[in-house]
């Protein structure tokens, strides 16, 4: 069991880290504003996964609380961005 974890945890962390980088590229290049919002949302979600993996590796249960709060805050951020996009559309009258 610990043998499998010893291989699987670093591999999963590597994959998630590369996902963050790819989402970051989308955040920089993203042609439209909603693309960037989605990229940011992906980055926080993957960060939650990383925190969960790190909690498994270190055996600290307290890190799971961190993931919980990150989930709440990122949800709020995405909702706020959506609100902003919709308001901008209402003002200019055109979807971007």
């Amino acid at each position: 069991m610990t043998n499998i974890l010893g291989v699987a945890l670093p591999a999963a962390m590597l994959l998630l880290t590369s996902t963050i980088f790819m989402a970051f590229v989308r955040l920089m290049k993203g042609p439209s504003f909603p693309d960037r919002v989605v990229a940011l949302d992906i980055m926080t979600t993957v960060a939650m996964g990383l925190i969960g993996l790190y909690a498994m590796e270190s055996g600290e249960v307290i890190f799971l609380d961190v993931a919980l709060f990150l989930a709440l805050v990122s949800f709020l951020g995405t909702v706020a961005f959506a609100y902003y996009v919709e308001r901008r559309q209402l003002r200019t009258g055109s979807g971007e």
Binding site: D65, L72, L76, E86, L90
Partner: protein
């Protein structure tokens, strides 16, 4: 409207999403409960007045996005400015307990007995409550002012 039947409507609101409004109604009490939990456990484990205050402020800002500023002010009941003042007074009051007992200013004074849920109660906890109120007040003052424009 289906929403109106459940009392979920907002007359003067800019935009109204029934999904967000319904989710907010369930999330707001949960987030506030979480913030109090963080505040209470703050002395011994990660948490404390600052984080708890931020979570409470985020709960109110979610309500603000789902409904509007006017409704949030009504929900909050107190002016954010008054919350800041009350928090500072509570913190000062917690510091003023020890001189009365003949100890140096701001020394932590703890109750002998432990309360069932909260655990040990003392002036550091009271100070944390003050920090909580100040953080909620400042965050909501900024957010509500910006949202009103």
């Amino acid at each position: 409207m289906i929403g109106r039947a459940f009392g979920l409507s907002c007359e003067g609101c800019h935009m109204f999403s029934i999904v967000l409004a319904t989710a907010t109604r369930f999330l707001l009490p949960l987030l506030l409960l979480l913030s109090v939990y963080l505040l209470v456990r703050g002395h011994n484990e990660p948490g404390g007045g600052f984080v708890g205050g931020l979570v409470a402020a985020s709960a109110f800002s979610l309500y603000m996005i789902a409904f509007d500023v006017e409704k949030t002010r009504r929900l909050l009941r107190a002016e954010p400015r008054a919350l800041v003042g009350a928090g500072l007074l509570v913190a000062l009051g917690s510091a003023g307990v020890s001189p009365v007992l003949g100890k140096p200013f701001m020394t932590g004074v703890w109750l002998e007995r432990t309360l069932p849920v909260v655990g040990k109660v003392g002036t550091p906890f009271l100070f944390d409550v003050g920090v909580y109120l100040v953080v909620v007040g400042v965050c909501l003052m900024i957010l509500l002012t910006v949202a009103e424009e």
